[in-house]
Subunit: 707 residues, 2 copies
Amino acid sequence: MKGDDRSDNASQARGGGEDSHGVGKPAITQTQMMESARNQATFDTSKLSEIIFGSPEAVKIHKKAFQRVEESTGTTDMSKLPARYGNMNREDMLLEGLRAGRAAFHDSLDNGDSTFRYHTQEWVLTNSNPLGLTEVLFRPMIELQGTAEQIAYWTPLSRSGKIIGSYTQTEIGQGTFVAGLETTAVFDKRTDEFVINSPTLSSIKFWPGALGYMSSHTIVIARLIIGEKDYGVHAFIVQLRSLKDWKPLPGIELGDIGLKMAYNGTDNGYAVFNNARIPRSNLLMRFASVSRDGAYTTHPLREKLLYGGMLKGRLAIIRNSAFQLAQALTIATRYSVVRRQGHKQLQQNSVASIMSYKLQHYRLLMLISRAYASLFASLASDSAYQELQKQQANGDHSSLSYTHMVMAGLKAWVTANAADAAEDARKMCGGHGYLMISGLPEIVNSLAATCTFEGENYVMWKQVASYLMKGMAARSLPKDMAYIPSPTYGKRVRCHVSGVDFLHVDNLLYIFQHRAARLITEAYQLLRASRGKGAVQNEDRHDVVLLSAAKAHTELYILQSFREHVTSISGSMPTEVKAVLTRLVRLFALTTIASPLCSSSASFVEDGFLTLNQLGDIRTNIDHLLEELQPDAIALTDAWEFTDASLTSALGCKDGDVYERMMCWIRQLPINVHASENDSVFRDGWEEVIRDFIAGGRGNVTEKARL
Amino acid sequence: MKGDDRSDNASQARGGGEDSHGVGKPAITQTQMMESARNQATFDTSKLSEIIFGSPEAVKIHKKAFQRVEESTGTTDMSKLPARYGNMNREDMLLEGLRAGRAAFHDSLDNGDSTFRYHTQEWVLTNSNPLGLTEVLFRPMIELQGTAEQIAYWTPLSRSGKIIGSYTQTEIGQGTFVAGLETTAVFDKRTDEFVINSPTLSSIKFWPGALGYMSSHTIVIARLIIGEKDYGVHAFIVQLRSLKDWKPLPGIELGDIGLKMAYNGTDNGYAVFNNARIPRSNLLMRFASVSRDGAYTTHPLREKLLYGGMLKGRLAIIRNSAFQLAQALTIATRYSVVRRQGHKQLQQNSVASIMSYKLQHYRLLMLISRAYASLFASLASDSAYQELQKQQANGDHSSLSYTHMVMAGLKAWVTANAADAAEDARKMCGGHGYLMISGLPEIVNSLAATCTFEGENYVMWKQVASYLMKGMAARSLPKDMAYIPSPTYGKRVRCHVSGVDFLHVDNLLYIFQHRAARLITEAYQLLRASRGKGAVQNEDRHDVVLLSAAKAHTELYILQSFREHVTSISGSMPTEVKAVLTRLVRLFALTTIASPLCSSSASFVEDGFLTLNQLGDIRTNIDHLLEELQPDAIALTDAWEFTDASLTSALGCKDGDVYERMMCWIRQLPINVHASENDSVFRDGWEEVIRDFIAGGRGNVTEKARL
């Protein structure tokens, strides 16, 4: 306690001599720990990659595309601080998004593959950068709703990037519920034009990606009005900005809606229309048209055809979410095998990492099984969608409601699970997972969005439930509900499986079927018992019960798809690969039924279908599966083939050299670089606040309090 | 389809005429909807505020303190875009944090109240700004571990702000596990100093708040080494920076660790020590001291006394999390009563908001009941802590392990629940909850941190479980475990409650007790059955089961505290206030037992204690409670007394005028202001990328790809 508060501590001032220990390395390095963990795999990782991507060729295409784009953007050198972790303000982030979008767009254009549809947030051509929606929404919508002539005109323009497109549906007051949109497109017979307006505050177009500053054209969803008559919402192509100088065209106010939790590489925007005019021919006229003299005609199946076409966006979200979850798990798994913590760390020469703690590998492996379940369910729904498209092309719309239900359920389940699971993966990295440079906050916050956009998840569950209730009311059950034994099923059914028989996937399917059948039956009985109120009010009243039924039906679909995908693996695959995937199917099903860490388990047991002894058996099986799977944890995440550049994570690099990389990046942060040029002082803070504060001064507190 | 892709759309260019509708208002405004919702309350909100804050005086003190600080920082005018939503880079955020910290620190100093300990993230004097830790950690640690002489010297300096303190414990390779820390403090007898070093990469001090650039002094936790002997971790005061020019003292490298998910108003930092020297007298010597000639003496109860003292930080986190959750729920509830969506919106003159949808009010009210449960449990643990302090002062440490267990369990439960619940509240605001200006991302991301810092939650659960297992093994159960009927309790017990009897809180307590008793008994039996392995390994193996037991015991404590607090409400309170809180106790308990939206319910039913019919009765009771509580939703959140400035939310302002405020703030965003000065063009994007891109050019893609 020498010295006084105004002068430096004299004793300390002599520090920094030559007998410095410097910063050394522990006996076993993190890269050695990683190597050791990776070497434990029971199977050839590259074979599993072929299953994930579909074929050896697909893996090659994927890897090459990443290599090209990462080289062209200069992001491969992991010793450099990635740009996104620099000192970026809103405008810097947008520029970075434009650059990423340009690289992926051109690569996609040159090579014509779909790599940048799904596989990583960093380069994906969706809403994560301002150039993705041209391909993902603008062009597909025109191809769905446009006439042959319209398609011939607009498709080449957007495909080549000569215009930049967006899709403008949601309003500040209205999201998922399309019928409630308020923007108007009034036909002006005099000039043969539509006049677009935002008639109310709540009708301001709000949220569309790339709408603020980046797109030249958009598809506006607006109410078509001819004379006094409102024909409901239709799609119109509206040019937003001049291609000469990018200025907004008359009657259009455009802007950015500001920072979001993620997706800040794109300019989700707003638009206020004030008598903006477009030619009549900009109405997309395949299913509905307006003639020169204002006569309206519509295709009798317009709704069905539009609906079918719009499912494509959900497909992309489902696949994307599976990959993003895998990304988070890759980071968390890699960091877990090189991180020592707690009592085991005290054995300095041990390679025991926190992966050896039960709660760590339990949570990670359970979530890994869910990432695979999501991927294989997404592949199954892809096939269902392609089948639907073929049938619709032949005028058969009978599978539409089924396919729609499957996609709604998967969208809700996969995105909600991915968001929660990625956040849990982030938490499993301790404090470091909270740092932006871990790469995890960006993944978690991106996944948080998927639960809301393209159909809010609770609305999705309601749609699944509606399908199920209609199915129950029908004379005979739809094929996918045929597992429901009778309209009065449920009470007093007991499961008779025990011991290792819980590993038979047939038994697991039976348990999932029982639960879904019981919940659907109970919900239907409740609904019937309270008939009388309007149908909508009645369903609203029972929403919580309906939600459980919808989830149970969807989880059954997921387990079925997972099992079928594994069963269908070609005989030429090494048996170890099939073996590890079979373990994952079992782990997925068993943890869904009986893990205290999983929220769904109550619905499996609340009716007494399973006893506490059976739950004990299930938990023993889970423990054995975890022991078998633990050596494969790294291989199961490596197989998704994320490059270091696409993970952009100081914790998740493939070599495991985590702490070196963290310090290397941190020393490059702009704030630290600036300070090092100023005697290691944060100059603005010292001069504006601290100097005066420690002298007891109050400063001019309001001075700079607001920008 | 007129025009070509290179010229503007001729037809559109005539827009913006005089027949504009402009942007109007719907028949019933959002402020009217808010007023109508607020008027439905069944009780006087100010009375409930008195219960939340403890007394009418406490409410007044709270309100005045907020008023002063908000006025002095110029943040009360809600028509101005709050600074944090402006174009801030890392350094701007830090400056903003300093300004906020200065205002709260001085107000706290002048008025001596504890308002800024708990009640809002915006002004709280904790880790959310660089000046909070001086009061929250630095000074209390000195007062706990320092000698009278040390306290007399350091306390006035830190209390007055003449030095800025921080607390430096965690290292890049080590968080919660203090015994594993590697930083060394070697006694140099020659100079009567300690020499501080970071001997390994993993020993770099990492994460402490305000360590990077803002604190002048810190308490470093390091291994005390005298000669060859390692005496384990001790606390040392280290001056980091010169008070004259703020430069780091010799042998100390300091820096910021970069952007985090939240808490970006402070500089969580790193420190590398390379022979930094401090006087011997800077060792905090109350419980352990080193003499001039290097002799070490320690207090026999050092561990116990340190442990007791460190619980205070957890108290603050628990209370803070309850308030932050209430903040998120205030925003979500307010927006829910002014937001029309879906089919009900089509009835234009109805005031039906999305609050009328079952899933919306169910989720909101359930979470509101959990915010109150968290608050009242936090108050109960406060009392337990004060009791412990009194006893410890008298040399009685017998309550330490109990109090520690209570705080560990509450810390884990309250923070995990608050983080999940705030995220659910955010999702309930649809897409707009994803915007930073909603205020919700900052709350959600701040709460995410609480699950990890000051004791990672899974480690907390393990500590609770350890206490419980020790209690089971003891000759007689500790008082708080006396509800466990026998060491073989569990099998074949049935609950006989039905119908409205589920509303009796005694019955609910009985159900919570049964569950906890069963889970604890089962866990103990499993552990005993697998004895033989080392104790630690054995517990690790059964971590998942132990986790359930620990949660059940903690949830019982929470229900008890909630009930006791409501029972103890003074007779002078209007009966409606007690009535509404009683409904919340019931809703909290019943939804924990039987809501499909709550993850804990499986453990109540898996042993057959409750039948499906009983669950049906419980769900009917929940429905009735929700009907009764719905009119009070706004009042239940208003009562927490958050000012508009402290919510900093475009969705959560008290008047409900959401869409007006959103557009007002958005038009003030720097990117939009800059663009409006540039013909509404984002100039950098147009010039660097877009102009060339739409001309088919590839640009120099690597040009600016990295900062």
